[in-house]
Symmetry: C2
Subunit: 212 residues, 2 copies
């Protein structure tokens, strides 16, 4: 009988090594060999899991995206009694990767986005992820808008686009050190609060920042 290898586990191990390398030095010049060394597996083991670097990067991108999506979902489930506006605030804060403990994930995200701008395959995966996020945020805006009952309803799709773009822009500015996490959170919270004229209270940050 051939030796049983836990392929799923090994692929995850390799994806985590890609993320560590992306965090430390970006995806610039990262080779299958570097990843094998970082994951402490043989070059052959990496090659049996992925045919080439692009296939490996694709898997790592999906791995990170799923982790973020699961976290957003968990955040929403944790407080089922919350209003749609509050849920939107929580989801936006979770997706924005502004906190210190998500800095590595944010670097990985940025490295992938930069690669996606010149790789059609990576761009395709990112686009599918963003389409799903866009739909989730559009639904949340729509529900919150209905609950707010304003005379002039918002355009949920446009607001969702703005929110995702603002979150990503802020993440980028924190990464390059233009803004502090706290400054970025304030911008995001103000944007959310203004959507329904302070109807939606921003999620609390004070004293909680070190844990995000």
């Amino acid at each position: 009988m051939p030796k049983q290898v836990d392929h799923v586990g090994r692929r995850r191990l390799i994806a985590e090594a890609v993320c560590r390398l992306a965090d430390e030095r970006g995806l610039e010049g990262v080779t299958l060999r570097d990843v094998a060394a970082c994951a402490q597996v043989s070059m052959g083991a990496v090659q049996r899991c992925f045919r080439n670097k692009e296939e490996m990067l694709l898997f790592a991108l999906q791995y990170v995206s799923e982790r973020i999506a699961q976290r957003v979902q968990a955040r929403l489930v944790r407080s089922p009694a919350q209003s749609a506006g509050t849920a939107l605030g929580h989801a936006a804060n979770e997706i924005s990767l502004l906190g210190e403990e998500h800095r590595a994930e944010a670097r990985v995200w940025l490295a992938f986005v930069a690669q996606a701008a010149v790789s059609k395959t990576l761009a395709g995966v990112l686009r599918r992820n963003y389409a799903a996020l866009q739909q989730a945020f559009t639904d949340l805006v729509s529900q919150a808008d209905e609950a707010a009952g304003c005379a002039v309803p918002l355009d949920p799709q446009r607001e969702a686009r703005a929110l995702l773009a603002l979150a990503d822009g802020l993440t980028t500015h924190v990464l390059i050190g233009h803004l502090t996490s706290q400054e970025a959170y304030t911008v995001l919270d103000t944007h959310l609060a203004r959507l329904w004229d302070q109807v939606t209270p921003p999620p609390p940050h004070t004293g909680e920042d070190s844990a995000r």
Copy 2:
């Protein structure tokens, strides 16, 4: 007498080659040799201009940043009679690199930002550029806010931060194909218009988009 070489001109030529490569395939794995080939100069010529790859990337980043800053400035000068709100709209649209003809520049910007997230030297240059932009936008928001004369004045610094982050996030989303240019312009214009409750008319896009 030693042969006179136009060093300034040659450095620019090389910076443009870096930008072409960044646009075609990102900065991933770009070598001094690739740049020499692309600029159609000898490897020695590149080495006489820049001691290493980082020095070359730094120069290219400054080169692109100055070009964008000059364009923003030119856009502001072109219509001196405009209100501060309109000037802000023009500057935000110019900085956001959303149009098809700025796609290459946007890719270069993103490649540099991704590198800056893991290079302290590049991050330092980007931070100085963003600080200058931040100041310019804060001043414009402040002037526009004064002119609008609202009961509750805006926080110009926070609004400038939001505007820059939104513009960069939208640029990223257009680059990966999540949004079309037109969708991104609509988000940006709506954000600007809302700042002073439609006091600031968004700059016109219809029929002009192909030229941006």
